[in-house]
Symmetry: C2
Subunit: 385 residues, 2 copies
């Protein structure tokens, strides 16, 4: 096991009818900016619940934060924060709204030339503007971590940021929000959380027995609840386990003391930047090819995953590892998620070369051993056509 | 799954040669009281490591905190805190030293008549004197939670306390400390952590699929590493998994959203108060009888535990549940832990009646349904003779 530091100060408020508790968590004298996305919260009643809870609080609103939160939109929100002397941010939405809010938390206190530096110069935020979240879409885990990913349409870039000052002060997780989420988004959420765990787990054995089992616990639970979540989102038991699994998949715990890969995300981000494909679906496109291409380096963990998550008992380590990749791809298909780039776009020719070119420009070496070069990424993306 | 709040702000610093990092965590202008136990830290080198790290810090010392931290001793330490204007507490030790430090953190800021009230009147501490810990004995989980248990020899009482202000600010966990721990204490630590998980898990099914699997993950890991921990404490892989499992067993995570039992602890505490039996051993004495006595109420979870932790595949739910209890008792025996009260004292006659009398005086109803009455405790303790 590697040495590690672990600290996660976010307060989770989990359960039925908890949205009204938002009022108890925000200082009474705060000037709040309520941030949300495309407006679905106005149709499903969550907006009304939040507004009712905050009836006595000074609240300004900023809606319209898109999926893959866009820099230009966020700069408009930053202007509101400055103009209105906002002191507290409240994200009501999924990972995109929360990630956008984290960028704003950092940008609101950043005193450099341009907030874009936070992304390109990898500036870590030690203390941002305080914020909380009301989660409306389980998937990214952003509600209990300190990272974010921001997109800039202008340059077709999608970049990561973070820092210890970017944990939400609180996050409210009411599994009942799932009842109003379209099936497509639920499938995305399941795929996203599942791949988050894989990125932290599917590396090489390092003797972190407990972390391995925790990771497998989340994967097993997602596999167990997925059919019910898709078929009947009103099933509270499935919804609550789905929601808590998504949070635990990326709140830092299972990555402590172990190597991390994240190459699937890095390649996937480029597919979103280039084609606008849903984030989760890009992961499902890349993952099978990534595991096949890096089979020798990952086969021990692939086999362990096959045994423990998919109950594969027959065959050699290689057999179990191959079967585990097949099971993973089949799982994505069962969720209704296509796993080939050509399923999403006809213009895929040249994508692999473009991704490799971008990685080369940025000097990126990826994977748990930093051994995955741009030319490897090119081959993996091509395998995923 | 039940609704829950979860927040755990303790910073964990985990790994090889991390004790020197204690300096980075304590404010430079702090007046520190370093608290420790019977002096083993002076023999195993941990004291020297801490003192070297804190060479430039104003440190006063208070040693001699006994196992089952004793109120009278702690009141002497409280006098030092007041006399020396101490501003920061540093516990270097196991659960007893850390629990004692939590009492002092609360008592230092308490302005009621007598600090004993904190225990008898169940006064929760919202903000105590800040403190950190250097853990020398994995077992209780006190290094990452906000609870403590204090003993008063005078009245033969052992009482619990806690509050959100009693999380350590940081805890340093260097698994190498295990190399100098006597086998008896290692066996106690394994038993203590194992039983902590059981108390939060062995209740009734409530559909918290992920919490169940996390609990089972800790149990499986403790079972896997226990033989190596006892045979070769220098094995770092076993030591690190043991240490992290003990912390995760009682840092709040696995109890969220599920019912808790804790009756084994409540009965066990009385055996320590009456006979001075090691805390962990009292749990091993009570657990098998408790599960046999409450078999009907707990058999579904007992069977699940049998299947998943002990790989019991044959038989009915009842068969698996019985076999799981037998496996648990056999595990304690393999650790060298006796499981009958008569193995520890010849004066056991009348113990059951005394425990029942105490519970009756306090008006206690125990267990996950608060349905375990003093007369039930009497029968369970008698079964454990």
């Amino acid at each position: 096991m590697n040495n590690f530091d672990f600290k996660n100060p976010t307060k989770i408020i989990f359960g039925k009818d908890t949205i009204e508790k938002v009022k108890e968590e925000i200082p009474a004298d705060a000037k709040v900016l309520l941030l949300y996305g495309g407006g679905s919260i106005k149709k499903n009643g969550i907006y009304d619940q939040v507004k009712t809870a905050l009836a006595d609080v000074d609240v300004t609103e900023f809606g319209g934060i898109p999926a893959n939160p866009e820099y230009a939109t966020l700069m408009d929100a930053l202007k509101v924060i400055k103009d209105e002397n906002i002191t507290y941010l409240l994200a009501v939405g999924g990972g995109s709204v929360i990630d956008g809010t984290k960028f704003l938390s950092a940008a609101a206190v950043y005193d450099g030339d341009t907030p874009w530096d936070i992304l390109t110069k990898n500036i870590r935020t030690e203390k941002g503007m305080p914020f909380g979240t009301v989660l409306t879409l389980p998937a990214t885990g952003s509600e209990m971590n300190s990272g974010a990913v921001i997109t800039r349409e202008e340059t077709k870039e999608k970049l990561a940021m973070g820092g210890p000052g970017l944990f939400p002060e609180f996050s409210i997780l009411d599994p009942q929000v799932i009842t109003s989420i379209p099936e497509r988004q639920l499938a995305n959420g399941l795929t996203d959380a599942f791949t988050h765990v894989l990125e932290q787990y599917m590396t090489y054995p390092i003797g972190a027995l407990l972390q391995d089992r925790f990771a497998e616990s989340i994967l097993q639970t997602l596999v167990e609840v997925a059919p019910t979540v898709l078929k009947d989102p009103t099933n509270y038991q499935a919804a609550s386990n789905f929601m808590w699994s998504c949070t635990m998949a990326l709140n830092g715990l299972i990555q402590k003391g172990v190597p991390g890969d994240w190459a699937i995300h890095m390649m996937g981000h480029e597919l979103t930047a280039l084609f606008g494909i849903d984030h989760a679906r890009t992961l499902a496109v890349i993952a099978p090819s990534h595991y096949k291409y890096n089979f020798e380096a990952k086969k021990e963990k692939l086999a362990q995953y096959g045994e423990r998550v998919w109950n594969i008992t027959e065959g050699s380590t290689d057999d179990k590892a191959y079967e585990a990749i097949a099971k993973t791809e089949a799982f994505f298909h069962e969720l209704g998620i296509d796993t080939k780039l050509s399923d999403y776009t006809k213009d895929y020719e040249g994508t692999a070369e473009e991704v490799a070119k971008r990685f080369k420009t940025r000097g990126w070496k990826l994977g748990e051993r930093q051994a995955l070069m741009p030319e490897d990424a090119e081959k993996i993306v091509k395998m995923a056509y």
